[in-house]
C-alpha cells in the first residue's frame, strides 16, 4: 500500500508539490535561523568568555560589586598562591591572571610634545609566557593586522582602528597615563609591536594589550591581579560543572566577612550571559513553535483543498470497500511520506545555508560603531548535529497535523450519497 501511495504522491504534483515546498521552506528557515541563533549567541558567549568572563572568574567581593569601574584598588593580592591553589583544586581548568585598566594614551612627537591623545581600555594578560595560552585564546596572533606579538617587556599591541585614529604605526612609542591601585598617578612608555583587529568593535576602538608583569609594575600591583580566569581545558563551557566549582570554591570563604575575600562566578552569572543563553534557547523554541504552527495552518488549508480535489477519489475508495479509518490512516501515512520528503529537502537546504553562514558569516560591524557590548563583528551560524532533527521532526509533524485536521472530513462523508456524488 505504501508503494501505491508513493506512486500517487510522486505522480500527482498538485497533491505533493505545494506541501513539499511549504515543508521544505519551513524546515529550511527553522534550521537556518536556529543555526544562526546558536552561532551568533555562541560566538557572543565565546567572545565574552575569552575576553572577559572566562568559564569561571575569581575576583574579590568588592571588585565584583564595582566591576564596571575596573576598580584595581579592590583587586586580588597574593594571586600567585591563589592561582596555585586553584590549579590544585581544579586541575581540569587552566587559570590565568588578568588586569583591566583604563587611562589615557598619549602620542609624543619627535620633540616629546604630545601630538595626539585618546582614552584607552587596557588589558594585561600573560603575553610573554607562551604556556599560558593567552595569546592563542584571544586569537591575537591571527588577528594582528600589522607587526608582531610583544617579545619583551615594554611592548604593547594596540587596536588597529585606535592606532589609525592616533596615526600610529608599528615601532612608534606611546605613553600611558593612569593611576596605580593605590590612587597615585602613573605613566609608562610602551613601544607598539603590532596592531590588531579583535573583531569586536568595542575593543578595536580603544584597546591596548600589554604583558601582565608590565601592568603589575606600572599599577603597583605586584602579586596582584584584578581577576583570575578559569578556562576548561576542553575549551567547552559546562554550566553545571562551572556551577559546582563556584559553589565549592565559595563555600571555602563563606565564613569570611572580608570584602577582599575571593569569590568565584561561573560564566552564566556574569554580564547577564545567563539571560542571553536562556533567551537564545527560548528564541530557538519560539522559532520552531511558530514554524510548526504556521506550517500546520498552511498545510491544513492545503490539505483541505487537496481533500476537495480528492473528494471523488475518497468516494470511490469508500464505495470499493476501504473503511473510513483506513483512508484516514493512509492520508496520515501520505502526510508522513510528503513531510519526510519535504523535511529532507528542507534539511539539506537549511544545512547548506547554515554552513555557508558559518564559513562566510554576516558582517554587522556597521551596526556596532557605537556599541559598548563585547560582540563579534561578524556573526556566524553554527552547524550542530541537532540541526539534523530540529527541522525534520517539526516538518513531518506539521504535515501530519495539517492532514489530520483536514482529513476529519472523511469521517463526515455519507456513504449513502456516494452514487449521487460519483455521478458528477
Amino acid at each position: 500500500m505504501i508503494k501505491f501511495l508513493l506512486k500517487g504522491i510522486l505522480r500527482d504534483k498538485t497533491r505533493s508539490l505545494l506541501p513539499i515546498v511549504v515543508v521544505s521552506i519551513g524546515v529550511m528557515l527553522t534550521i537556518a535561523l536556529s543555526a544562526y541563533m546558536k552561532g551568533a549567541f555562541g560566538d557572543m558567549i565565546d567572545q565574552n568568555a575569552r575576553f572577559d568572563t572566562g568559564h569561571v572568574k575569581v575576583m574579590t567581593r568588592a571588585y565584583l560589586e564595582n566591576k564596571n569601574q575596573m576598580p584595581n584598588d579592590l583587586a586580588l593580592l597574593g594571586v600567585d598562591s591563589l592561582a596555585q591553589s586553584l590549579r590544585q583544586d581544579f586541575p581540569d581548568y587552566q587559570w590565568v591572571q588578568r588586569i583591566r585598566f583604563g587611562g589615557l594614551i598619549d602620542v609624543p612627537d619627535e620633540n616629546g610634545e604630545s601630538k595626539g591623545q585618546g582614552p584607552a581600555s587596557g588589558m594585561a594578560i600573560d603575553l610573554l609566557n607562551e604556556s599560558s595560552g593567552e595569546a592563542k585564546r584571544l586569537n591575537i596572533e591571527t588577528s594582528l593586522v600589522s607587526g608582531a606579538l610583544p617579545t619583551q617587556s615594554g611592548e604593547a599591541i594596540i587596536g588597529h582602528d585606535f592606532a589609525e585614529k592616533l596615526g600610529l604605526k608599528v615601532g612608534d612609542e606611546i605613553t600611558y597615563f593612569g593611576s596605580t591601585m593605590n590612587g597615585s598617578m602613573t605613566f609608562q612608555n610602551f613601544k607598539i609591536s603590532g596592531t590588531i583587529r579583535f573583531g569586536a568593535a568595542v575593543m578595536d576602538r580603544g584597546a591596548v594589550v600589554v604583558d601582565i608583569t608590565d601592568a603589575q609594575q606600572m599599577l603597583d600591583m605586584q602579586d596582584g591581579a584584578g581577576e583570575i580566569l578559569g578556562f576548561s581545558k576542553l575549551n567547552v563551557y559546562d554550566d553545571e560543572q562551572a556551577g559546582r566549582m563556584a559553589e565549592k570554591f565559595n563555600a571555602k570563604y563563606a565564613g569570611d566577612s572580608d570584602e577582599f575575600a575571593p569569590v568565584m562566578l561561573p560564566l552564566k552569572q556574569q554580564n547577564n550571559l545567563g539571560e542571553w543563553l536562556d533567551y537564545a534557547d527560548m528564541m530557538s523554541g519560539i522559532f520552531v513553535f511558530i514554524f510548526i504552527l504556521a506550517m500546520s495552518i498552511v498545510l491544513w488549508n492545503t490539505g483541505l483543498l487537496g481533500g476537495l480535489r480528492r473528494y471523488q477519489e475518497f468516494g470511490i475508495r469508500l464505495a470499493l470497500g476501504e473503511p473510513k479509518g483506513r483512508i484516514y490512516r493512509n492520508l496520515i501515512l501520505e502526510a508522513v511520506l510528503i513531510g519526510a520528503i519535504g523535511s529532507v529537502v528542507g534539511t539539506i537546504l537549511g544545512m547548506a545555508i547554515s554552513y555557508y553562514v558559518q564559513v562566510v558569516g554576516i558582517d554587522i560591524s556597521g551596526f556596532l560603531k557605537n556599541s559598548t557590548m563585547l560582540m563579534p563583528s561578524v556573526l556566524r551560524a553554527k552547524v550542530t548535529p541537532e540541526l539534523f532533527y530540529i527541522g525534520f521532526i517539526p516538518g513531518v509533524l506539521a504535515m501530519v497535523f495539517g492532514n489530520m485536521l483536514s482529513g476529519i472530513g472523511i469521517y463526515k462523508r455519507e456513504t449513502a450519497r456516494l452514487f449521487k456524488e460519483l455521478e458528477v
Binding site: M1, R326, F419, L422
Partner: protein
C-alpha cells in the same frame, strides 16, 4: 449453477427527513434475487432505484424492514462490516467510470485487491486476467485519460470483477456511452455473469440495457410496480 437467494428485501421502507417532514423513497419493498441473476431496476428519476441499490450495496440501511445480503442483515452492520462486505463480495460500476486518474489501468484494477491484502504475484495474475475478460490486457500501462469512454467503462468492469464478487451493482452504466460501446460492455458483463455466476443488478432506463436483462423490476414512486421475468434463468429455483 446454484440458485440460492443471496439478496432478500423484506418490507423495506426508506425515509429521509425533508424540512419539517419526511420523504419516503422506498415503500414496502419486497424482492428476492438469486445467485447469477442478470436483473435491473427500471423506473423514472425519483422512483427509488438508486436508494434500493444503496441498501443492497451496504452503502445505506433501511429505515424499516429487513435487507439481507449474502446472509448479512444490512441494518445490523457496522461501518467497518459494511465496508468489508463491499470490499469482499460486492463490485460497483458507476455511471461515470470513476477511475483514479493518477494510476494506470493496471493499478486501478489492482486497487480492489490491495484492499484485501492479496500478495503481489497473485494480484498481478488476477488483474491481468480481469483485463483479459474485458479485452484490455494490452492497455494495462495506460492512464485513464488515454482511454475512450467505452474502454474506461470496461476498466471499471474489470475493477469490479477482479475480486470475483458475488454481486455487481451497476448504476446507469451506459449513461455516458454510445450504442456500440453500450452493447460491447453489456456483452462483456453478460459473458462474466454466465462464466463466473456473478449476480448483476442494474439501475437503468436505457432500452439497450433492458434488452440484455433477464429480469426487470419496475419501480415507481418508491413502489415495486412490476417484477417482470424476461428469460427463464432467473426463474430457476
Amino acid at each position: 449453477m446454484t440458485s440460492e437467494t443471496i439478496i432478500s428485501i423484506e418490507n423495506v421502507f426508506k425515509r429521509y427527513p425533508v424540512g419539517d417532514g419526511e420523504f419516503t423513497a422506498l415503500k414496502d419493498i419486497n424482492l428476492q434475487f438469486k445467485r447469477s441473476e442478470f436483473a435491473g431496476l427500471v423506473g423514472p428519476s425519483g422512483s427509488g432505484k438508486t436508494t434500493l441499490l444503496n441498501i443492497i450495496g451496504s452503502l445505506d440501511s433501511p429505515t424499516e424492514g429487513r435487507a439481507m445480503v449474502l446472509g448479512k442483515n444490512i441494518s445490523e452492520l457496522s461501518h467497518r462490516e459494511s465496508a468489508w462486505l463491499r470490499n469482499k463480495h460486492i463490485g460497483f460500476i458507476f455511471q461515470v467510470y470513476n477511475l483514479l486518474p493518477v494510476y494506470t489501468v493496471f493499478e486501478n484494477v489492482e486497487f480492489a485487491l490491495l484492499l484485501q491484502n492479496i500478495p503481489a504475484d497473485e494480484r498481478k495474475k488476477a488483474v491481468m486476467k480481469a483485463l483479459e475478460w474485458v479485452g484490455l490486457a494490452d492497455m494495462a500501462g495506460k492512464k485513464p485519460d488515454k482511454l475512450s469512454g467505452g474502454e474506461g467503462q470496461r476498466v471499471a468492469i474489470a475493477r469490479a470483477m477482479v475480486k470475483k464478487p458475488e454481486i455487481v451493482i451497476a448504476d446507469e452504466p451506459s449513461a455516458n456511452l454510445d450504442a456500440a460501446n453500450t452493447h460491447a460492455i453489456l456483452k462483456t458483463m453478460k459473458k462474466l455473469n454466465e462464466e463466473l455466476g456473478t449476480t448483476f443488478l442494474f439501475s437503468t432506463h436505457d432500452e439497450k440495457v433492458m434488452g440484455y436483462l433477464e429480469r426487470i423490476v419496475h419501480l415507481r414512486d418508491g413502489y415495486v410496480e412490476q417484477d417482470e421475468i424476461i428469460s427463464p434463468k432467473s426463474m430457476t429455483t
